[in-house]
């Protein structure tokens, strides 16, 4: 194939490789770990370079019952959502998640306002219930997160979890905690490539290693800003392949969280009789968001619906076989 060879682009950089989760040999208790990044070519373009690590499919678990999730989603998850450990175990054993993304929603002052210790107990319970790597998000309340996250970090010390998120204005507390307890962390920057880079620089200036960082440039759902996320991630990937080390970090996408906010995912048949089957419409919406973002360059896809997880794992398999 002469022309395929002529189409190859020579890239000078590659995505930083990052490992999440630590097994017994590294001082953790994980029975599996995930490795992301490492790609030296555009996503899935095997003819021009390797994508050594396929994208990881993680599932979102909350520290409290998410009462406002749409009916189709709640029906698929069942009563397990009342117990984070049970929920997490099902995600791994029944639905095939590669990692768990624990969201400490209930620590938010407007929600349960649970204490740092209570949150840490949930972290420990989820770690005990599964052997996969753990991603831990705060409640997106800076002040409360700065109290909660260090305690959770300590409770999971040595497990090399992925903790989020640090921002341009609030990073020192979480960076210090992750540094002390051997975790990786997520840098948050809403669809702005310059701020993304700035966050990475600030964090690495504190002596935090780049091989333990992941970027979250916020995720736009299909129909609600996915094109912004798509292009920001694509630009980031091109910068990384052009050897910009500060942009070469893997990317996490909160797919389920955003896709299930869309009308197209939530509307009932009564509300939208011409939109097709309401039981599966949200699954398609979540899956389409994920499949499209994979093409822009994404490394961890955090999903909600079990069927979307299974289907996305098939897609990843087909892309990387």
């Amino acid at each position: 194939m002469k022309l395929m060879e002529a189409a190859v682009e020579k890239w000078s950089g590659a995505i930083q490789e990052v490992t999440i989760g630590a097994g017994a040999d590294e001082g953790g208790t994980r029975t599996s770990t995930v490795r992301i990044g490492g790609a030296g070519a555009l996503p899935f373009m095997d003819f021009e370079g390797v994508t050594p690590n396929p994208p990881v499919v993680a599932m979102e678990v909350w520290d409290c019952e998410p009462t406002d999730w749409p009916a189709a989603l709640r029906a698929a998850l069942g009563d397990r959502v009342k117990d984070p450990a049970k929920w997490a175990r099902a995600c791994v054993e029944e639905f095939g998640a590669d990692a768990i993304c624990l969201k400490l929603a209930n620590t938010h002052p407007d929600e349960g306002n649970t204490s740092p210790q209570e949150a840490a107990d949930v972290v420990k319970a989820v770690l005990a219930a599964t052997g996969v790597p753990l991603i831990i998000w705060g409640s997106e309340n800076d002040e409360k997160d700065n109290q909660v996250m260090p305690v959770c970090s300590q409770a999971a010390a040595g497990e090399r979890c992925l903790l989020g998120a640090v921002t341009e204005d609030n990073y020192k507390t979480l960076v210090a905690a992750c540094q002390a307890d051997g975790h990786a962390l997520i840098g948050l920057s809403p669809i702005d490539i310059n701020i993304a880079k700035q966050v990475n620089i600030l964090v690495s200036e504190m002596g935090f290693p780049l091989d333990r960082m992941v970027m979250y440039q916020t995720t736009g759902s299909l129909g609600y800003g996915i094109e912004y996320t798509y292009s920001i991630q694509e630009r980031g990937r091109l910068a990384a392949l052009g050897a910009d080390k500060m942009m070469a970090l893997p990317v996490i996408c909160m797919v389920g969280q955003e896709a299930w906010r869309a009308k197209e995912a939530k509307a009932t048949t009564e509300e939208q009789p011409t939109w097709g089957n309401a039981d599966t419409r949200g699954v398609y919406w979540e899956l389409a968001t994920a499949a499209t973002l994979l093409q822009a360059g994404s490394d961890i896809m955090v999903m909600r619906h079990p069927d979307a997880v299974r289907a996305l794992k098939d897609v990843v398999g087909n892309l990387t076989k």
Binding site: M4, G223, L238, Q295, V315, K321
Partner: protein
């Protein structure tokens, strides 16, 4: 590959005769480079220069039209590999593949489904805009009959068959509609190309690999068919995506004319989720005609939405219609929040209001698609245009109170706005994420 002004200048007479209306040849070259004038304005240009310039100004990806009239599909003429570099110009056709083995009833149901695959998003219609008839039976009559039935749906057709005889039969009933013939292969191309030429139809071309394809297309062009579409597969997700990327790169960056055509993909994968994921990926990665065996609205709507999103022009902010929007079961006493018509701003606010489950109005002022702070800084959001909105018939008819919730970032305009409009101005949260709490706690009703 578009030429730069200096490259064009080198080919001009350099006499500065002004016959073209420009003061100098360089000025004319600059206008040519920006496509503001045409080469025939210069009466002195040599034939060699003309050939060189016209060759260079031909688009690297040919624009191909399928169908006729208002419903015709135009694809190709793309200039970039990444939408942020400029934009993607011609949204792909997305269509359903209908086999010629269906019973009359099943076929009628399919055609009906096809016609019903229309949705409204962000004030725009998104719909299935092409349909393919698949020669499965190997029976010319069945193929022609199905083609005629599907043509009635009114969207451009794709006739999928490798057999010139059966294609000819179907073209007898659909040829006037300028369907895309799909298609030519290294084995059948002579007969199929002759058919495409005689009916003036566009032709899809496939070959085992890009090398064979690049050998085949010039032969077909020489045989008189120029409107080509490259059929790049679609069953194997990874291989198809790689071929799509490689072919577009070769056309745009290596000026391989033999691959400078729009692409077509057909996904027949049985698992609907895998099928839909593949179609979304092909839309994002350059396919110009995305054909699928999916028929259900819940599976097609996401693919259509990917097209809408990926083909929006990143150089222009997307806007929503200014006016009064309702979220939830509003009454005249419901809260009224103000925001701008930048779609991302609006949908963020709408999402938060919806999540709060407090019914409310959202007032959208035309700020030319800028966000709240930008609009305020550039005076596109000011006491005058907000007051004009508050005095509009729409607001008067629906809102029974005079309290406006202003985005927290522009609290500084509350005094002036109060004076101008006479409304009570409440300062809302700075970020949309605070709206839910605000509506539940601060807003105490009208």
């Amino acid at each position: 590959m578009a030429l730069k002004a200096l490259d064009i200048f080198k080919l001009l007479p350099k006499t500065n005769c002004k016959d073209c209306g420009c003061p100098t040849c360089l000025a004319f070259a600059m206008k040519l480079a920006q496509k503001q004038t045409t080469l025939d304005q210069c009466p002195h240009v040599t034939d060699e220069a003309k050939a060189a310039l016209e060759g260079a100004s031909a688009p690297p990806v040919r624009l191909v039209k399928i169908g006729t009239g208002a419903a015709a599909l135009e694809i190709g003429n793309e200039t970039v590999l990444f939408r942020h570099e400029e934009t993607f110009y011609h949204p792909p056709g997305i269509g359903i593949v209908i086999p010629d083995t269906l019973s009359e009833d099943a076929l009628a149901a399919q055609v009906e489904k096809l016609a019903a695959s229309k949705f409204v998003r962000v004030g725009t219609n998104i719909e299935i805009n092409v349909a393919a008839v698949d020669d499965v039976a190997g029976d010319a009559d069945a193929f022609a009959r199905t083609a005629a039935a599907v043509a009635a749906a009114g969207v451009p057709l794709v006739l999928i068959s490798g057999d010139a005889g059966r294609l000819a039969k179907a073209l007898e009933v659909t040829g006037d509609g300028r369907p895309l013939i799909c298609g030519a292969t290294p084995d059948n191309w002579e007969a199929v190309a002759a058919l495409a030429k005689s009916q003036s139809c566009p032709l899809a071309v496939s070959a085992p690999d890009l090398d064979a394809l690049a050998e085949l297309t010039p032969k077909i062009v020489a045989a008189g068919v120029e409107d080509l579409v490259l059929d790049l597969g679609g069953e194997d997700l990874a291989a198809t995506l790689q071929t799509l990327t490689a072919a577009r790169r070769l056309a745009l960056k290596k000026q391989i004319r033999a691959l400078g055509y729009p692409f077509l993909t057909i996904c027949r994968t049985e698992d609907p989720m895998a099928n839909m994921s593949a179609c979304c990926s092909y839309v994002a990665k350059f396919s110009g005609v995305v054909l699928t065996t999916l028929t259900e609205p819940e599976a097609l709507m996401p693919v259509l939405t990917v097209r809408q999103n990926i083909y929006t022009d990143p150089r222009k902010p997307i806007q929503v219609e200014p006016g009064l929007y309702e979220v939830g079961a509003v009454t005249p006493d419901s809260a009224l929040l103000l925001t701008t018509n930048f779609s991302l701003t609006y949908y963020t606010v709408e999402g938060e209001v919806e999540a709060s489950r407090v019914p409310a109005y959202i007032g959208v002022v035309d700020t030319e698609g800028t966000s709240v702070l930008t609009a305020f800084a550039s005076d596109k959001l000011n006491a005058d245009n907000v007051t004009a909105f508050l005095n509009s018939d729409e607001v008067k008819a629906k809102v029974g109170h005079k309290k406006l919730i202003l985005p927290g970032y522009i609290s500084v305009m509350s005094g002036g706005l109060h004076e101008e409009s006479g409304w009570e101005i409440m300062v809302g949260p700075r970020e949309a994420s605070g709206i839910s709490k605000y509506l539940k706690t601060v807003w105490q009703g009208a």
